[in-house]
Symmetry: C2
């Protein structure tokens, strides 16, 4: 039922969750002690799982990316014959994430704060580049891909810079981006 008293995997998960919450609340200034307490673990326990603060943050970054990658994969529509399926899945994942979270500011703050640490920043960059490469081979005009990706980036961090976005704004931008991600030719633009 409640599981064992000792459960490394569970503890690790609790630590990562606690770290995420604490970072959101206290920015880069989070203390390991706080994270440990928040997870119901002693600081020694934390240090057992993550040998340094940098390592904890890196693990947190990896964790977030894994979740997002899975979200994209889940949103791939196998019945959709048109090219750009992965790009559209990416758009959906981005927006679903924002709509789901009560406070989208959290995610944005997290990513931004993590980027303030050397090792996590490196990993985020590496992962991001991989995404770009994958999405470029999706059969859509590269220019389109880039604009859509940039807009997704923008939508993701916008909460950080200007607070939570309105639902109607989110919805309208989402539709528009999905349309942009559906055409294959170059974008000429005008009405």
């Amino acid at each position: 039922m409640a599981g064992q008293v000792r459960d490394a995997a569970r503890t690790r998960r609790a630590l990562l969750d606690a770290a995420a919450r604490s970072v959101v609340l206290h920015g880069a200034g989070v203390s390991l002690d706080l994270v440990a307490r928040e997870a119901g673990v002693s600081k020694g326990g934390l240090m057992h799982h993550f040998r340094s603060k940098d390592e904890l943050m890196a693990a947190l970054a990896d964790d977030l990316f894994d979740q997002f990658a899975r979200a994209v994969e889940d949103r791939m529509d196998a019945d959709d014959p048109r090219p750009g399926r992965r790009l559209r899945a990416y758009v959906r994942a981005t927006f679903d994430d924002l709509e789901k979270t009560q406070d989208a500011v959290e995610q944005a703050t997290l990513m931004a704060t993590l980027s303030a640490f050397p090792e996590p920043a490196r990993r985020v960059q590496e992962r991001y580049r991989r995404w770009n490469r994958t999405l470029a081979e999706d059969g859509v005009d590269p220019q389109r891909v880039l604009v859509v990706l940039r807009a997704c980036d923008g939508v993701s961090i916008a909460p950080l810079f200007e607070g939570q976005l309105g639902p109607e704004e989110l919805a309208s931008t989402r539709t528009l981006l999905l349309e942009l991600a559906s055409g294959t030719g170059p974008l000429v633009g005008d009405t």
Copy 2:
């Protein structure tokens, strides 16, 4: 020539510049001592100009925004009769900024890191919202405005997440966004 030995304005400028450089290098963990040394001033001197770290960071945020606002104003084309002049100026300012800086990652890192401090984050949000309101009254279809703005946001922080963007990628996205910012009707999208 070199000015006086004591020059408050000049010292303040030096401190802000040093703060910017140091924050980029050391993230939120910058020490006041380091910033002071980097500016060729003692810590006491720094504290004379900024009463706390938070205040220093807030001033830095304000400074960055002032610069950007001026850049946008400078790029307003008075001869352009079409609506959306300010939005296009915004796009130009965004891209010029990125192309000018040898290392665009700096700007992005700066903004992100600053957002990790409470007071600076507040100011950034306030300023950003003002921009949004101003740009919404520019005669362009609101949906267009939003996508363009989000894409600009994305282009700005992209360096943080995936490293410096290629010049041809920047150029092509720039053109595309300017086109998007030139139409007035709703965006239908397909080719």
